[in-house]
Amino acid sequence: MAKKIVLLPCSGIGKAYGEIGRQAIYEVIGDHRPAEITTTCLAKLMIDDPEAKQLIHENIVITVDGCARDCARKNVETAGKKVDKALRVIEIFKDHRDLKPEGVLELGEPGFKLVHILAEKLGREIDCLERKEQ
């Protein structure tokens, strides 16, 4: 059975980066192949939820962190899984510095443009990882 892709955003609530990562993941899951691409709650790994742990251990995991604190990547690694790819929203912003989100949760048009750009990058990373698996 082919592995699924598990996308895990940090969803940090203190900065807009967290919301951008979260929205990009929802966009990828909705637009692409929802049966093969999924997410789960990061905090479930901390409470040793068996389904969440099985999901990450048996599938390909991409983390999307807002910034260099890498909370999502660290949380996954603490749960015993080395992530297959780790992305940071701030790296996307560096290439599009004119796109400043309008708020932490209400991103506005420039924020959602960053979301779309990140979603496209995620799509490319997924294609790359899936090719490696074959």
Binding site: K15, A16, Y17, C67, A68, I90, F93, K94, R97, K100, P101
Partner: protein, 150 residues
């Protein structure tokens, strides 16, 4: 409180001031070392502006006036001017910040240093700066002002 820093905590944020540095009112610090003056930004500033995404800095050889603009620092929230606390010639710029500008956030007083200046007159420029005990209450006033903005 550690040996190297003065610290104060408000809510979940601890603000640090390096005891052996000198501070400009525009939130940059200066540290004399081996004839050069190393310059960076304060912990207070990096906390207020957020994760640094870009720095635009002058090149080695550029001349700076004390209190003059030395470049800019940009985050997802804002862009701020970087002020040089000392006049002189830039000898070196921190190349690590090209790939990893967030060193300014994670270690503003150490690995996040920004540039080094060969000072024209360090003694004179130093008189316009604050030592840590003088800067600390000023920083607390600014923290109070930031918190009152909510």
């Amino acid at each position: 409180m550690s040996d190297d820093f003065m610290e104060v905590t408000y809510d979940k944020f601890t603000f640090r001031v390096r005891k052996d540095y000198w501070y400009h009112p525009e939130e940059c610090w200066a540290k004399e070392s081996g004839g050069l003056v190393i310059v960076g930004v304060s912990d207070f500033l990096q906390k207020v502006v957020g994760d640094v995404a870009f720095l635009e800095l002058p090149e080695a050889g550029a001349e700076l006036a004390p209190g003059g603009e030395a470049g800019t620092m940009e985050t997802i929230k804002t862009t701020v001017a970087l002020i040089s606390p000392v006049g002189g010639t830039i000898q070196e710029v921190n190349g690590e910040l090209d790939e990893n500008p967030q060193l300014v956030n994670t270690d503003p007083y150490g690995a996040g240093w920004i540039f080094k200046v060969a000072p024209g007159n360090w003694e004179a420029d130093q008189k316009g700066l604050m030592d840590a005990p003088a800067y600390f209450p000023k920083m607390e006033e600014k923290i109070k002002a930031e918190m009152a903005k909510k």
